[in-house]
C-alpha cells in the first residue's frame, strides 16, 4: 500500500438513512406487537410492520457492508483506516460487555442483597415482614408470592446440557483460532474446514440451548414468570443465545467470503472482527456457566 496514503473519506451515502428507516420501522413494529398483545388487540399489522422493517435492515446490511468490502478490496483503505476499524470493533465489543455487566450486576444484587433481605437476613431483614415465612435460598425455587409468580419445580443442573454446551463453545474458540492461523499461512482449504467446524459447533450449541429452553418451559415449569430466578436465567442465557446467533451468522458470512476468494494472508480484518466477537461470546458463556449454572 502507498506510503503516505491519505485517509479515505467516503462519498455521501444513502445507507445511513435507509438503516434509520429500517431500524425505526422494525422497533416500532416490535413495540406495537407488544402493546397490542397486552391490550388484547390484533397484532397482525404489527408483525407485518416488523417484517418490512427487518427486510429493510437486511437490504441495508448487504448494501452497506458490501460497499465497505468493495472499497477495501479496491485498496482504498490505508493502514490508518484499518486501525479505525479495529478500534471500532474493540470498543463495540466493550459496549456489549457493559450490556451483559448490567444483567450480571442485577443477578449479583438480587442474590447478595434482595433475596437475603426478603428472607430476613441483614440490614434490611425487616423486608421479611412482607412475606412471612419466605426462605431465602438460591436457586430461588420458592418465590415470596407463589400466587403471583408460580415457581419452577427444579432448576437446570450445570453438569448436564450446560457442560456439553461449554465444551462445544470452548472448542469452537479453538477451531476458529486454527482457521485464523491457516488463513495467515495462506492455506484456504484448511480455513474452510476449520470454519465449518466452528459453525457446526455453534449450531450444536444453539440447538442444545433451544432444547434446554423447551425442557425448562414444558417439564420444569421454569419460565420467565417463575420469579427472579427465571427472570435472570432467561435474560442472561437468552441474550447470550441471541449474541451466539449473531456471531454464527457473522462466521457464516465470513465463510462465504472465503469461498468467494476474499481475504489475503495479510489483510483479513473482517475475519478477525468476527473471530474477536466469537471469543467475546465464548467468554460471556464461561461467566454464565459459573454464575448462573454452577454457583
Amino acid at each position: 500500500m502507498a506510503e503516505n496514503q491519505s485517509y479515505y473519506v467516503p462519498e455521501q451515502s444513502k445507507w445511513p438513512i435507509i438503516a434509520t428507516v429500517g431500524l425505526g420501522v422494525t422497533l416500532y413494529g416490535v413495540a406495537s406487537i407488544m402493546v397490542n398483545a397486552q391490550q388484547g388487540e390484533s397484532t397482525t399489522g404489527s408483525w407485518v410492520m416488523f417484517f418490512i422493517g427487518a427486510l429493510i435492515m437486511a437490504y441495508m446490511l448487504f448494501g452497506w457492508f458490501g460497499s465497505v468490502i468493495r472499497e477495501s478490496r479496491a485498496g482504498l483503505y490505508s493502514p490508518q483506516m484499518d486501525r479505525s476499524f479495529r478500534w471500532g470493533m474493540i470498543w463495540f465489543i466493550f459496549s456489549e460487555v457493559m450490556f451483559f455487566a448490567a444483567f450480571f450486576g442485577a443477578l449479583f444484587y438480587v442474590r447478595v442483597f434482595a433475596v437475603p433481605w426478603l428472607g430476613g437476613e441483614g440490614d434490611r431483614g425487616s423486608s421479611n415482614m412482607l412475606w412471612e415465612g419466605f426462605q431465602a435460598t438460591w436457586p430461588l425455587i420458592q418465590t415470596p408470592d407463589p400466587q403471583a409468580y408460580p415457581p419452577a419445580e427444579a432448576t437446570i443442573g450445570p453438569w448436564g446440557l450446560p457442560l456439553v454446551n461449554t465444551i462445544l463453545l470452548v472448542t469452537s474458540s479453538f477451531t476458529i483460532t486454527v482457521a485464523h492461523h491457516a488463513l495467515k499461512a495462506g492455506n484456504r482449504a484448511k480455513v474452510k474446514i476449520w470454519m465449518i467446524a466452528t459453525i457446526l459447533l455453534a449450531i450444536g450449541f444453539l440447538v442444545l440451548q433451544a432444547e434446554e429452553y423447551v425442557h425448562a418451559y414444558q417439564d420444569l415449569n421454569l419460565t420467565l414468570e417463575s420469579g427472579i430466578y427465571g427472570s435472570t436465567f432467561f435474560m442472561l442465557t437468552g441474550f447470550h443465545g441471541a449474541h451466539v446467533t449473531l456471531g454464527t451468522l457473522m462466521l457464516f458470512i465470513m465463510l462465504m467470503r472465503v469461498n468467494k476468494g476474499h481475504f489475503t494472508a495479510d489483510s483479513h480484518f473482517g475475519f478477525e472482527a468476527a473471530a474477536w466477537y466469537w471469543h467475546f461470546v465464548d467468554v460471556v458463556w464461561l461467566g454464565l456457566f459459573v454464575f448462573v449454572y454452577i454457583i
Binding site: 491519505s6 425505526g24 479505525s84 457493559m98 444483567f103 415470596p144
Partner: protein
C-alpha cells in the same frame, strides 16, 4: 445537522417547561390536568437531556474534533451519519407517545419501577424502544469519537498536546460506551417486566424496585458528567482566547477530567440516600461524592487563574464562559450540600434538587453550548454574528435563569416537593418569581434563534481567526471551513 436538531429539541423541551411554569405560576390547578402535567415534566426532562444537551455536544464534537486534530473527517463517517439520523427517528417515536392512548410517559425522566412498569401507560413500551435507538446512536457516536481521536491526529500531536475540548470528548466518549449499554439493560428489564411477566423489580418474585434505581443511576450519574465534560472542554478554549493567555495548568486540567470521570462510576447511590440502602453504603457514597468536588475545584481554580492578569475582553462567548464558571460553581455547592447524606434526607425530592441540577445544567451545559456556538459560528458560517444582540441574549438569559432557579433553593429548603402540579400557599410567592424568570429565559431563546439565522444568512465577513487570542488548528483553515479540510494532515510541533 446535529446542532439544528438539538436546537429544535431545545425549543420543544423549553415549551414544555413553559407549560410547567405556567401551571406553577399560581397555586391551584388552572391550565392543565395533573396527568398531563406529569407528562410535561417527564417529557421536558427526557427531551432536554437526550434531545437537546447530548446531541448539541455530539454535534460540536463531530464538527470540531476533526478540525482541531487536523483530520479530514470523523473516522467512520457513514456510521456517524447513521448516529445522527437515528435521533430524529427516536424523537419522532418519543413525541408520538403524547398522542397515543393513555398519553405519554408520565413517571419522571428517571422512570422508576414499578411506577413505570406496573402503572405506566401503554406508550411506555414505545418509550423504551425510543431509548434503545438513542442509546445505539450515542454508542456508535462515541466509538467514532474514540477511533477518530486515537487514530487520526496529525503527526506530532501527542495526547498531551491535544486541545482540551478533544480531551474532554475522549473521556466523555469512554463514559458513553461504558454506561449507555447499562441504560439499555435496565430499560430491557423494564420491558420484560411490563410485557413478559418477569419480576426484576417486583419483590413478590424475589426482585427489588431498588434494583431499578441502582442500575438506572449507575448509568444516570456518569450521564450527567457526559452532559457537562464537553462544556468544560469548550470553556477551556474560550477563556484562554479572551484572556489572551494560555490555559493555566494544562496537565492538571487533563488529570482532573480523568479523575472526575473515574469517580463518576462509584457515586451513583447518592441519588438513593432515602431509599433504604444500608448505612455503610450511604457513608461510602457520601465520601466518594464529596471527593469529586476536589478535581472540579482544580478546574475552577485553573479557569480563574487563566483570567488572572490576562488581557480580558468580554464578547459574547466570554460572557457565557465566565457566567458558566460562577454559576456552575454555585450549582456545585448545592451539589455538595446534597452529597451530605443526613442533610439529603431533607432535600431529597424537593425543589432544592431541581435548583441544583438546573444550576449545573443550564448555566453549565447550556451556557457552555451557547458560548461554543458564538465562539465557533464565525468559523462555521463565515460571518460574524451580531455582537449587540448576542450580549442582549446573554444578559436576558443570565437574569432570567437566576430568577427562575435561585428561588427554587428556598422553596426546596422550605419543603416544596418535586413533580407536583399544585402546592401549598406558603410557596406561592417564590413560584411566581420563578415562573416569571422562566418565561423571560424562554422568550430570550427566540432571540438566539434570530441571531443564529441572521448569522447564517449574512453579516460581517469573518477571517480564518476572528478571535485574536484563539489557539488551535481550527483557526488555520478559512471561514467558513471548506467541506473537506486537512486532506493531508498538517505538521504539529
Amino acid at each position: 445537522m446535529y446542532l439544528i436538531f438539538s436546537f429544535t429539541m431545545f425549543l420543544l423541551g423549553g415549551t414544555m417547561a413553559m407549560v410547567i411554569r405556567a401551571e406553577l405560576f399560581q397555586p391551584g390547578l388552572q391550565i392543565v390536568q395533573p396527568e398531563f402535567f406529569n407528562q410535561m415534566t417527564t417529557m421536558h426532562g427526557l427531551i432536554m437531556v437526550f434531545g437537546a444537551v447530548m446531541p448539541a455536544f455530539v454535534g460540536l464534537a463531530n464538527w470540531m474534533i476533526p478540525l482541531m486534530i487536523g483530520a479530514p473527517d470523523m473516522a467512520l463517517p457513514r456510521m456517524n451519519n447513521w448516529s445522527f439520523w437515528l435521533l430524529p427517528c427516536a424523537f419522532l417515536i418519543l413525541v408520538s407517545t403524547l398522542f397515543m392512548q393513555g398519553g405519554a410517559p408520565n413517571f419522571g425522566w428517571t422512570f422508576y419501577a414499578p411506577l413505570s412498569t406496573t402503572y405506566g401507560p401503554p406508550s411506555t413500551t414505545f418509550f423504551i424502544f425510543a431509548v434503545h435507538i438513542m442509546g445505539i446512536s450515542s454508542i456508535m457516536g462515541a466509538i467514532n469519537v474514540i477511533a477518530t481521536i486515537l487514530n487520526l491526529r496529525a503527526p506530532g500531536m501527542t495526547l498531551m498536546k491535544m486541545p482540551l475540548f478533544v480531551w474532554t470528548w475522549l473521556i466523555t466518549a469512554f463514559l458513553l460506551i461504558a454506561v449507555m449499554p447499562v441504560l439499555a439493560g435496565v430499560v430491557t428489564m423494564m420491558l420484560m417486566d411490563i410485557n413478559f411477566g418477569t419480576s426484576f423489580f417486583n419483590a413478590a418474585g424475589g426482585g427489588d424496585p431498588v434494583l431499578f434505581q441502582h442500575v438506572f443511576w449507575f448509568f444516570g450519574h456518569p450521564e450527567v458528567y457526559i452532559m457537562i465534560l464537553p462544556a468544560f472542554g469548550a470553556v477551556s478554549h474560550i477563556i484562554p482566547a479572551f484572556s489572551r493567555k494560555p490555559l493555566f495548568g494544562y496537565a492538571s486540567m487533563v488529570y482532573a477530567v480523568g479523575a472526575i470521570a473515574l469517580l463518576s462510576f462509584v457515586v451513583w447511590a447518592h441519588h438513593m440516600f432515602t431509599v433504604g440502602i444500608p448505612i455503610t453504603g450511604q457513608l461510602f457514597f457520601m465520601y466518594a461524592t464529596m471527593l469529586i468536588a476536589v478535581p472540579t475545584g482544580v478546574k475552577v481554580f485553573n479557569w480563574v487563574a487563566t483570567m488572572f492578569r490576562g488581557s480580558l475582553s468580554f464578547e459574547a462567548p466570554m460572557l457565557f464562559a465566565v457566567a458558566f464558571v460562577i454559576l456552575f460553581t454555585i450549582g456545585g455547592f448545592s451539589g455538595l450540600m446534597l452529597a451530605i447524606a443526613p442533610a439529603d434526607f431533607q432535600y431529597h425530592d424537593t425543589y432544592f434538587v431541581v435548583a441544583h441540577f438546573h444550576y449545573v445544567l443550564v448555566p453549565g451545559a447550556i451556557f457552555g453550548i451557547f458560548a461554543s456556538a458564538y465562539f465557533w459560528l464565525p468559523k462555521w458560517t463565515g460571518h460574524m454574528y451580531d455582537e449587540t444582540l448576542a450580549k442582549t441574549h446573554f444578559w436576558l438569559s443570565f437574569i432570567g435563569m437566576n430568577l427562575a432557579f435561585f428561588p427554587m433553593h428556598f422553596l426546596g429548603l422550605a419543603g416544596m416537593p418535586r413533580r407536583i402540579p399544585d402546592y401549598a400557599l406558603q410557596f406561592a410567592d417564590f413560584n411566581m418569581v420563578s415562573s416569571i424568570g422562566a418565561f423571560m429565559f424562554g422568550a430570550t431563546q427566540l432571540l438566539f434563534l434570530l441571531i443564529v439565522v441572521k448569522c447564517v444568512k449574512g453579516g460581517k465577513e469573518a477571517p480564518a481567526k476572528p478571535w485574536d487570542g484563539a489557539e488551535g488548528l481550527e483557526w488555520t483553515v478559512p471561514s467558513p471551513a471548506p467541506y473537506h479540510t486537512f486532506a493531508t494532515p498538517p505538521e504539529v510541533k
